[in-house]
Each structure stands twice: as C-alpha cells, then as structure tokens.
C-alpha cells in the first residue's frame, strides 16, 4: 500500500475524499433515491424531486463555500478555481433542469423518481470531469456523465422519437468515447504516463511522429463529437428533439459545458506544446460548426430542432476561444459558457411552458401572437433571443465580445498565414452572428407581428417561474454589469496557464 505514503488509511481518505465531496454527495443522494423509489407510491415522486433539489443545494454550497483545494488521490483529481467555476455551473444547470422537469414530466406522464437519480449521477460525472487531471479519471467522468444522459434522452418510453434520439445518441456517444479511449491509449504509449501535466512535460521533448499526430487527432475528434462540433454533430438535432425538453435543456448547457471544460484542460495542460498539430484543424472545425449550425437552423420550423442547431453554432463560438489559446481564450470560453447557460435555459424554460395539455408547443407557429396575450413572457423570450443573437446590452453580447477579442488579440500578435486564418475566423464568426439573428428574429416576428395566439393556459409552475426569473435576471445582469462574472472567469483560467 505504498500510495498511502506512510499515512494510515483513515487520514488518507479524510484528506482526499474532501476534494471530491460534492460529487460524492450527489452520488449518495442519487443512490438513496434509487433505493427508496420502489417503496414510494407513484404519485409521491415529489419527494424524490425535493430530495434531489436538496442534494444539489448541498453540493452547490460545498463547492462555493467549502474550503477544499488541491490535488487528491495521487494526482487523479484536483479542486482548483477552474474546477470550482465549472462545478458551480453544472450544479446550477442541473438545479434549473430539475426545476423545469417537475411539471413537465407530469404533463408527459412519465414522472418517476429514477429521473432525478440519473440527473444527479450525470451531474456528478460532469463534476468529475471538471476536476479530472488524469486520463483514466477523464474517461470515467465522461462515462458517468454520458450513460445516465443516454437513458434520460430516451426517458419518454412511449415516444418513438425519444427512443430514436436515445439510440442515435448512444451509438455515436459510445463511438466517440471509443475514439477518445484509443487516442488516450496511444498517448499513454508515447508519454508513458496518464497524468496530464506529465504528458505535457513529456511532449515538450517529443518529436512529431505519425503516432503522436494520430493520437492527438483521435482525442480532438472524439471531443468534437462530445461538444457537438460540425461535422460530428449529426446526433444533436435528433437527440435534442427526441429528448424530454427538460433533458434537452440539461444537455445543451451541462453536458456541453462539461465536455468543453475537460477539452480545454487537456488542450492547455497536456497538448499545449503540440498546438500546431491541431489548431489549424480546430479553426476549420470552428468555422464549419458556426456556419453549418446556423445555416441548418434557418430552415427549421420545429423549435427544438432550431435550438439544437443554434446550440451547435454556439459551440463553434466557444471553439474560437480554444483556437485563440492564451488566457484571453480561456476567459472567453468560460464567460461564454456561463452566459450561454442562462440565456439558453431561459429559452428552454419558455418552450417547456408551451408544452401543455395536448399541445406540443414546439412548432414555431405556436408562438404566434404571443405579445398580444402574454406580453411579459414574449418580452422575456425576446430578451433571450436577442441575447443569443449577441445584441447589447445583454449577456450574449459580452460573451461574443470576448471570443472575438480573444481571436483578434491572437491575430495581432501572430504573423503570416496564422494571422490570416484568425482574421478569417473572426470575420466568419461576425457574419455568422448576422445569420443567427435572422432565425432568432423569425421567432420574434411570429411573436410580435402576428396575432391569433391559441388561447390556452400555459404550463406555469413555481419551478418554471423561478427559472425564468433567474435566467432573465442573469441575462440582463451579465450584459449590464459583467464585471464580477468576468473576474470569476479570470480566476478560473489561472490553473490552466
């Protein structure tokens, strides 16, 4: 037992477990729900919901106020400011998804306690990812995050598209995990270690070899699947459309942000010295992702699909931060993911409100004349849409500003063809903002310029109300007074440099 390094088992556990305490809370809570659920009557799912919310709050408090920091389990997980930033984001994202789920699942008549257990497991997986600094931990985190999500996507058992989405998501998800795993095993062969920092050191002296290039490519492409970057995004529209809307919301912010978090850590900590291998291809992928996602969204009439494509294009903007590299790039991505979480969850909350009685409320037509009947909701939706489109003074603008700033800054300091690539990337990104606004405005047109709303009560519930208030407020606040959020993101970027 030499890993104990002379300590006795109890002290060792005490010192190390504290680093992963928030994750353990969620897992424990999830297990309790799983065990107790069969004993509960079907109509008592509210207890599972309440219990999950409490678990998330506890984990959230632990992340924010807990004093833990440092590396644990012999260099497998870390709790630093980067971990903290993202873990907080995941907990909040999961909390919001849980709040959105309750009433929605009742309407879908699929309200069961396991749902919350799966949500908690998946969130625990994301939190592991945020703190993972070693290949095996990364893989375990990825799987812990992904497997519950596969099940959640197919949670509406009776619906064909839900099953279809889950199947596609599962197959491609498993495939991409396989690619990442293969890339990792090659990387282990090259570097002789699974720890990211040590890989980083090993690669500084490593000559470029076909094996290294293959390994890096496999890892990059595997993660491009996970973050839904084009041309590896094919599963997204189907999975997002088929999944219960609350799960879609969860995936489009949580799963995506978690994949990005670890993607950034790997690229900066382990692959920092082989940037020239993957930056050109990532530039291309970023351009493709933005453009493809936006162009495909233009013609959609189903809003779930539309926002699925829109989320693809937003992934392209976050990739711009990765391409830019440097501190600015990380801050940009962190700010972007933070703001995106709230404006996007706001949109999904509105969509969930529209799902009522027998009305699916996913079609763009179902928003007709919303301004005439529900002015407050329409204005809130307008806020989210404009923010997604990057119009100041809303959060989305600050997010876009930072990714553009990161790229332009890099373009000014680099020279030759690299500068040109970056300028092209910035211009494509800028013009894509115009395309994106076109389809966001299409929804605005339907809401504001036409009347004959289908007069029917919306699926209001306390949960959705809270979510709308929080996301609306944060969308405004991050635009008007972004200073504290930027500072938070800046501290988060420090461990990666």
């Amino acid at each position: 037992m030499d890993f104990l390094a002379g300590q006795d088992v109890l002290t060792y556990l005490k010192d190390n477990v504290v680093i992963i305490r928030p994750q353990l809370v969620l897992i424990l809570w999830g297990l309790v729900i799983l065990c107790v659920m069969p004993l509960l009557h079907r109509g008592r799912t509210i207890y599972a919901f309440m219990y999950a919310v409490i678990g998330l709050l506890v984990a959230g408090f632990d992340v924010w106020w807990g004093s833990q920091s440092g590396i644990a389990f012999n260099g497998m997980v870390v709790f630093d400011s980067f971990t903290r930033y993202f873990q907080l984001l995941f907990v909040v994202g999961c909390l919001i998804s849980a709040l959105l789920s309750y009433h929605y699942l009742e309407i879908e008549n699929e309200h069961r306690g396991e749902y919350y257990a799966l949500l908690l497991f998946s969130t625990a997986g994301m939190m592991f990812l945020a703190g993972a600094i070693e290949l095996i931990t990364i893989l375990v985190g990825l799987e812990l995050m992904a497997i519950p999500t596969y099940i959640l996507v197919g949670f509406l058992r009776g619906k064909r598209r839900s099953n279809e989405g889950a199947m596609k998501y599962f197959l491609l998800g498993a495939f991409s995990t396989g690619m990442i795993l293969y890339g990792m095993s090659l990387m282990y062969g090259i570097a002789g270690t699974t720890k990211l920092t040590e890989i980083g050191t090993a690669l500084t002296v490593q000559a470029l070899s076909p094996l290294l290039v293959l390994s890096v490519f496999l890892i990059i492409i595997g993660f491009c699947f996970k973050v839904a970057a084009a041309p590896f995004h094919m599963w997204v529209p189907d999975a997002y459309e088929g999944a219960p809307t609350a799960v879609t919301a969860f995936m489009s912010v949580g799963v995506k942000a978690a994949a990005f978090a670890i993607f950034f850590r790997i690229c900066f900590v382990a692959l920092g010295d082989v940037r020239e291998i993957y930056v050109p291809i990532l530039t291309l992928i970023a351009i493709l992702t933005m453009t493809w996602g936006n162009l495909a969204a233009v013609t959609q009439t189903n809003l779930k699909r539309l926002f699925a494509y829109s989320s693809i294009s937003h992934a392209g903007y976050v990739l711009m931060g990765l391409v830019a590299g440097s501190e600015y790039g990380i801050v940009a991505a962190a700010v972007y993911l933070f703001i995106y979480t709230f404006m996007n969850l706001g949109v999904w909350a509105v969509l969930i409100l529209m799902r009522r009685g027998d009305i699916q409320g996913e079609d763009i037509e179902s928003f007709k004349g919303m301004m005439a009947c529900k002015p407050l909701l329409a204005i809130l939706m307008l806020l989210f849409l404009l923010s997604l489109g990057g119009i100041p003074p809303l959060g989305g603008f600050i997010a876009k500003y930072f990714v553009f700033a990161a790229v332009i800054k890099e373009a000014l300091t680099s020279s030759g063809s690299q500068a040109i690539y970056l300028v092209v990337l910035a211009i494509v990104g800028a013009l894509n903002a115009v395309v994106a606004l076109y389809y966001y405005l299409r929804i605005v047109v339907i809401m504001f310029f036409e009347d004959d709303f289908v007069p029917s009560k919306l699926a209001f519930s306390v949960g959705v109300f809270i979510v709308l208030c929080v996301s609306g407020l944060l969308t405004l606040l991050t635009g008007i007074y972004p200073q504290p959020f930027i500072e938070l993101a800046r501290t988060a970027a420090v461990p990666l440099l």
Partner: protein
C-alpha cells in the same frame, strides 16, 4: 449639471417606465400619447442647456476640450468606461435628436392607433440609443448604444410599417448588423493595438487619436469601420436597405431614420475614422470621394425616376448624404464643417419632407405621385410648407441647404488635388432641383380633378406645430448660420489638423463668405 448628459440620454426611459405601468386598456391610449409627447418635449428642453452652457468654462474638460465630461468605471477588467462627453459636433446632433424625436412622436398622434403603448415605448427607447451614440466617448459604450438602437427601430418598421414591412424590417436589421459586427472587429483591433503600445486597457476614443498605427493596420481597421459606418450612412453601394426601410416605415419612423439614424454613420466617420486613422483616410481618399460622388449622382438620377413620393425622398437622401460624405472625406476645414452642417440640414429638410409625405398619406393612403395634382388649391398652408422645404432641400439661398452645399463646394474647391469632385457635387444640386421641383409641380400644381383630392383638409394645428420648428431652423441656418457654425470650428480644425497637418488655414468665422458675421 455634471450629469446633464446622463440625464438627457436616459430621460426618455422615465417615459418608458411610466407607460409600462400605466393602466391597461384601449381607453388609456390618449393619456399614453400625452405622456410620450410630454416626455419628449421635456427631453428637448432639458437638452437646451447643452447649447447655452456650452462655453461655460466650468464644464470644459481642460485636457481634451470636451464638454460636460462624465467618467466612471464600468468594466474595469477590459477597461470599458461609462464615459460621456460632447464637442460642438455632437452637441448639434444631440439637439437635432431631441428635437426630431419630439416632432416624430407628435406626428404619430393620429397615425398610430394599434398597439399604442408599445409604439411609444419603442420610440422613447430609440431616443435613448441615438442620444447615447452621440455622447459616448468610450468605444465599447458607443458600440452598445449603436446596436441597442437597432431593436426598437426594427419593431417600429416591422409592426407599424407598410405592406412589405417584415422584409424591410429584417433587411434593415441584418444589413446594419453585418456592418456593426465588422465594426466591432475593427474596434477590437484598435483596442489591442493600443494595449500593445501603451500597456493600458482602454476604449477611450480620444486617447486612440494619439496612437501611431502602422499604415497597413490602419488600412484594415479603416475598412472594418468603413463597412460599419457606410452601411448606416448609407453610402453607395451599401444603400439598398434604405429605400425599403424608408418606404415601409411609418411616417415618424422615416422621419427619425432620415433625420437622426443616418447621421450616426456620418458622425462615426467624423468622430472615429478620420482622426484615429488619418493615414488610411488619406490613402483611400480618392476611393471615398469617388463613392460619395457616385452616391450623389446615382441617388439623384434614381430619385428622378420614382413614382412613389416616399421612395423619391429616400433616394434624395442617398444623394444628400453623398454630399455630406464628400465634404467629410475631402477633409478641408470648410468642407468638413459644411459636411457636418449639411448633416443637420438634411435632418431638418428631409425630416420635414417625410412629414409632408406622411400628411398626404394619412389623408389618402397612397403615396403615388400620379394620384395627386393641384393640391395647392385646397391646401394652401400645406403648399407653402412643402414649397419652403423643397427649396431648402434644393439649396435655395436664404435657406439652410444652400449654406451647407456652398460650404462643401467651396471647401472641395479649396483642395487643389480634389478640386474636380466639386463638379460631381454641382451636378447633384442640379439633379436635386430637377427631381424636387418636378415632384412639387406634379403634386401641387395643375388641375385638381380627382374628386378624392378635392376635399382634402389643410394642415391642422398639431401638424403645423410639427413643422414650425423646422421652418424656423431652415431660415435661421439659411440667414445666420454662425449661430451653429461657431460650435463647429474647434472640433473641425482639430480633426483637419490631425488628418492633413499644416495644409490648410483653420476655419474661423471669416473663412467663408457666408459664415461671415461681424463685418
């Protein structure tokens, strides 16, 4: 008083807040109209101290010469500041904005009957955005206002516009946005270059003037700025959104669009492109003048062929703004000053012409020239106003247009290299006379044989009130422009000195035969 700019800028928000919480229901529309009008009127009055206190030493920033400067940290991490301040150029444009805002709101009293509450909210929000653009001394802040004002204008066109309003609204929005995002990239390049040179994160517009930027970088940034501003102006060949937006927008929307929104583009060139990127301006000058000249002549020719009055006035805007840009881009003191004065003039006369078309449209619901004729017989007051504004637009001496055009031509002629461009300008004046007089003749003279037109009532009191300030200003600027020009000398000389140092005598009260006063 230190906060006067903030107050002027955000005062309309008070109106928005009041209108939002005002009791619901159609019967309250009347009171909402009163609120909006009063807020706009008070907004105008509280902006008057800007002109009366302009030369009060107390409010002059000793370093920069800006007036009423107010600075506060906004996003310290990136160096963005909440920084307001004005010089003579922005002061005149701010007054134009508050005045035209009031006039536009007053002119919608009977024109807007649907969704009244929203309409006035958007208008007041628009006002905030436009005022902020002219006041901001921080590039980041400027950009925020620049974009913010798109949204209310989009709604004004899209909800209360004509038959093709959706197309026009979205075209307006996306076209302008495409320009603005490129502008943002330009701003960022400038910002990071400034950091590289000075180590300070700052968007301060005035400190950027003293940067020594290599010419090729200047060139790139200039192109990015150019696309952003030229679309807004709009300069040929980026003008295609303008006729659509103007034709489909409600009258008040067109008035504001012509009088103020387009000036944001020209203002952008004067405030940012010229002084921050002087060498690129000099390098690209032939092209810029060429595009301006094309705009003058093309706009005039197309205007002549229009059957729709509003479209005619819209294309005349393209021509007149080409004129402004000619004056700005030649960067001689007199021409630049004339170009800026011409922005104000265009706001007054084209704003008035859109109101004039709107008056007829509200009565007859058609804007086709062929539907009218001989209106002067039963609408004498209207005919007089229309005639004066036509003359002002053509540039008849004693009216405002003449002063601006004369100064631009004089200034262009004073520059030996670019002297020939004055020919294009002069051609534009002839074309202007042709299409405006022809329009006036076809609408107002001849026999009034259409029975629908015989009973058209003349202007009512409210409509007269909307025209009176514009008429007064048209004569004022025409007869004694020095009241306004005196505020422009200082900033104009400063800009010319940056772009073409030592080439020209600074403009003073005696530089131009019409600016002459005390002799």
């Amino acid at each position: 008083m230190e906060n006067i700019l903030t107050i002027v800028c955000f005062f309309p928000l008070l109106g928005v807040a009041l209108i939002v919480v005002w009791p619901k229901g159609k019967e309250h529309d009347q009171s909402i109209k009163w609120i909006a009008n009063l807020v706009a009127l008070i907004g105008f009055f509280i902006s008057l101290p800007l002109i009366t206190e302009f030369n009060n030493v107390q409010y002059i920033d000793s370093e920069t010469g800006m007036r009423f400067v107010f600075k506060a940290d906004w996003i310290p991490t990136i160096g963005a500041q909440y920084s307001f301040g004005i010089d003579g150029i922005s002061m005149l444009l701010i007054l134009l904005t508050t005045l035209m805002g009031f006039i536009a709101i007053l002119s919608s009293w009977t024109a807007v009957t649907e969704r009244v509450r929203e309409y006035y909210c958007y208008f007041l929000l628009l006002q905030v955005g436009m005022l902020g653009v002219f006041m901001a001394l921080d590039f980041f802040l400027f950009y925020v206002f620049w974009e913010v004002m798109l949204v209310p204008m989009y709604f004004i066109i899209g909800v209360w516009g004509g038959p093709r309003k959706l197309y026009a609204a979205i075209k307006f929005f996306l076209y302008t946005l495409a320009g603005s995002v490129l502008l943002l990239l330009g701003i960022l390049a400038l910002y990071f270059y400034q950091y590289q040179q000075t180590g300070v994160w700052s968007f301060d517009v005035l400190s950027m003037r003293s940067l020594d930027i290599p010419v090729d970088l200047q060139w790139w940034i200039f192109v990015a700025f150019f696309v952003g501003f030229a679309i807004k102006v709009p300069m040929f060949p980026f003008h295609t959104w303008l006729p659509d937006a103007h034709v489909e927008a409600p009258t008040a929307g067109s008035v504001i669009l012509a009088a103020v929104l387009l000036k944001m583009g020209t203002y952008g060139f004067v405030r940012f492109s010229l002084p921050i990127l002087p060498e690129a301006t000099m390098n690209l000058m032939p092209w810029l003048l060429f595009l301006s000249a094309i705009g003058i002549i093309y706009g005039g020719l197309v205007a002549m062929m229009q059957k729709d009055m509003k479209k005619l006035v819209a294309y005349s805007s393209v021509s007149h703004l080409g004129f402004c840009m000619l004056g700005v881009f030649v960067v001689t003191p007199v021409a630049l000053e004339g170009g800026i004065l011409q922005m104000i003039n265009h706001g007054i006369s084209t704003g008035a012409l859109f109101l004039i078309v709107g008056v007829l449209y509200e009565r007859r619901h058609t804007r086709m020239i062929q539907d009218y004729g001989g209106l002067s017989q039963n609408m004498p007051v209207y005919a007089t106003v229309f005639l004066i504004m036509t003359m002002s637009s053509i540039g008849l001496p004693a009216l405002n247009g003449f002063i601006g055009e004369f100064m631009i031509l004089q200034g262009v002629f004073a520059d030996p290299i670019n002297r020939l461009w004055a020919v294009a300008g002069a051609t534009g004046i002839i074309l202007g006379a042709a299409y405006m007089l022809w329009l006036y003749q076809r609408v107002m003279f001849g026999s009034n044989d259409n029975p629908k037109n015989q009973l058209l009532p003349d202007l009512n009191l409210r409509e007269i009130v909307t025209f009176v300030p514009l008429l007064i200003l048209a004569f004022w600027i025409g007869l004694y422009p020095n009241t306004f020009l005196q505020y422009l000398h200082e900033p104009v000389n400063e800009i010319v000195e940056i772009v073409r140092p030592g080439e020209f005598e600074p403009v003073t009260e005696h530089s131009t035969s019409i600016g002459r006063s005390g002799e």
